[in-house]
């Protein structure tokens, strides 16, 4: 089986989110301080990175790693440059030159609450005072804000920078990796077509951010939110897994969705996409 660099980066990012979620839930249930959660999550991240490197070292002869920007650059320098320039421009323009759009979202407040109180949801994030009646458990169990707050705590970076600049940029890059996988499925070894596809993805995102509910508007305006991650990273990657019949990757994606967005008891859009795909597959088979 061929392991692409994009696959590795995406799957290890997903694994890191799952491990972070497990530590977060453990801390929540055991009512431990938030700092414990932060350091456990950091340890988990180190574990994923070092484990991944060790895995690559021990398996370097068993699978061929393909991909890498260098290869594209040598063969198609103009297209590669254009694509990379668009990505850099999007990061600088959308995350560096715009104010964050915080309507309908309190991730920043949740992060500050965790960091200030060193407790998980001991206060109402919107006021800083104790809850009168509490908050819904379905939202409490989502570990994304805790993961971001952990990044802030361990690195010392400010909450606004982590939440509104760093994380959306990471999500943007993961989104391109997901679409690179789709490009690889559609065009195989045709690197020129793959690059053209990615350039058009960049342009669709850039020109298509006119409404809040478009993928790219979600990404550029509120790239830190679970819904944005689902729209630009998880669902394209799930589509790629379904097209390639890589069901382990699909299950991993479904679990990550469960960690970042409130779903119907785990039945998120990834599962729904798989079901629709199954029906579409039957239609293809009958033809």
């Amino acid at each position: 089986m061929q392991n692409s660099l994009s696959d590795k980066l995406i799957q290890r990012s997903f694994l890191a989110v799952l491990i972070a979620q497990a530590f977060y839930l453990g801390t929540l249930v055991l009512k431990m301080p938030f700092s414990a959660c932060a350091y456990f999550q950091f340890a988990g991240l180190v574990l994923v990175i070092s484990g991944g490197i060790l895995w690559d070292i021990f398996h370097r002869n068993k699978g061929k790693t393909v991909g890498g920007a260098g290869l594209y650059f040598r063969q198609y320098p103009c297209r590669t440059f254009l694509f990379l320039a668009l990505v850099v421009l999007q990061i600088v323009w959308n995350y560096g030159a715009h104010m964050p759009y915080i309507k309908g979202d309190i991730t920043g407040e949740i992060m500050q609450s965790f960091l200030t109180t060193d407790q998980i949801y001991s206060v109402n994030p919107m006021t800083g005072e104790g809850f009168l009646t509490g908050m819904p458990s379905r939202l409490k169990i989502l570990g994304l804000p805790a993961l971001y707050a952990s990044v802030s705590k361990v690195t010392g970076l400010s909450v606004p920078f982590v939440c509104y600049r760093l994380i959306p940029a990471v999500v943007l890059l993961l989104g391109y990796l997901s679409y690179e996988r789709l490009a690889d499925f559609f065009f195989g070894e045709d690197k020129k077509a793959k690059l053209t596809f990615l350039i058009f993805v960049a342009l669709v995102w850039q020109f298509g951010s006119y409404g809040l509910y478009n993928d790219s508007a979600r990404l550029f305006l509120q790239g830190w939110r679970g819904e944005s991650i689902r729209a630009v990273v998880l669902l394209p990657y799930a589509l790629n897994c379904l097209l390639r019949k890589k069901y382990a990757g699909l299950v991993l994606t479904a679990f990550v969705e469960l960690c970042v967005v409130w779903t119907l008891y785990g039945l998120g859009f990834t599962i729904l996409m798989a079901a629709v795909f199954l029906i579409a597959g039957k239609v293809v088979a009958k033809k």
């Binding site: 759009y101 915080i102 909450v159 789709l182 298509g208 509910y213």
Partner: protein
């Protein structure tokens, strides 16, 4: 009828300011009827999910599936719009690049073909982001708001700030040690999903008073009363819009009260601190 109304509202939200979705429809048409292609499964998934989203009974089922916490418009995330449009444009770009002009028989070339399709894409979309303030380039918070928050001293621990909504909504992102009497869910209904806590009519009136929206009452008397309440509730900082402080009734109340001293004035706000 309610279902159709919800669907119509959701679809309008999705497409109202641009037409990339039209390119999706066009892409599907091209894939079905003009482009000989091997991506059968992708094409059929893209078609089926579109039909499921547009057909009211299936849309109703999907809405039930995604729980009542999300609106119909959120379902459109399932549409592989970016992948479909980018894929068809790539395929069309290759064909367009090989197109020969008139008598010269010169090919259009790949660069111009991509440029033509990029222009088409641009015409269906927009260069500007949805509702995104650009005048505050590179900032996390509006300048006026940050100026106020810089005066709130949290070096000694938590402080209580009572400020207009546009200041309060950024205060706790700015510093977690700033506490607020009312959360953003008071004026931003969607955020009520994050807590079971609610506010009573009295809280709403107090917030209206601060924001200058409490009308029809004697301003001086009401303001004196609210200053007293603010003090008894332990609010450390009060922030008012500059224009509000200039109102005669309100300014008379400010003169009469003795709990708060003016500590600063910014371009838009006046800041008082409890003595």
């Amino acid at each position: 009828m309610k279902l159709l109304g919800l669907m119509q509202d959701g679809y309008t939200l999705f497409v109202k300011d641009g037409q990339i979705t039209v390119l999706y429809f066009l892409s599907l048409f091209l894939l079905w009827f003009l482009i000989k292609d091997k991506q059968e499964l992708f094409k059929k998934y893209a078609t089926l999910i579109l039909l499921l989203l547009l057909f009211p009974p299936t849309a109703w089922l999907l809405m039930k599936y995604q729980t009542t916490f999300y609106d119909y418009v959120n379902l459109w995330t399932l549409l592989p719009q970016t992948a479909m449009v980018a894929y068809v444009l790539t395929v069309c770009g290759e064909k367009l690049a090989g197109y020969r002009f008139g008598k010269t028989k010169r090919k259009l070339g790949e660069g111009p073909a991509i440029a033509v399709l990029a222009v088409l894409l641009f015409l269906c979309g927009s260069l500007t982001l949805f509702a995104h303030p650009t005048e505050e380039t590179g900032r996390y918070f509006p300048k006026d708001v940050e100026e106020v928050l810089e005066y709130v001293d949290t070096s000694g621990g938590e402080v209580y700030l009572f400020a207009p909504e546009e200041v309060a909504e950024y205060a706790r992102i700015y510093d977690g040690r700033i506490k607020l009497p009312f959360g953003r869910n008071m004026w931003e209904a969607a955020l009520s999903a994050y807590t079971y806590d609610t506010y009573d009519a009295g809280d709403g009136e107090m917030n209206d008073w601060l924001n200058g929206n409490l009308k029809g009452l004697s301003e001086t008397e009401v303001s004196e009363n609210y200053f007293s309440i603010c003090s008894s509730r332990g609010f450390d900082y009060l922030v008012f819009d500059k224009e509000r402080v200039k109102e005669s009734g309100f300014s008379a109340a400010v003169e009469k009260q003795s709990d708060y001293d003016k500590i600063a004035e910014t371009g838009k706000y006046v800041i008082y601190k409890r003595m």
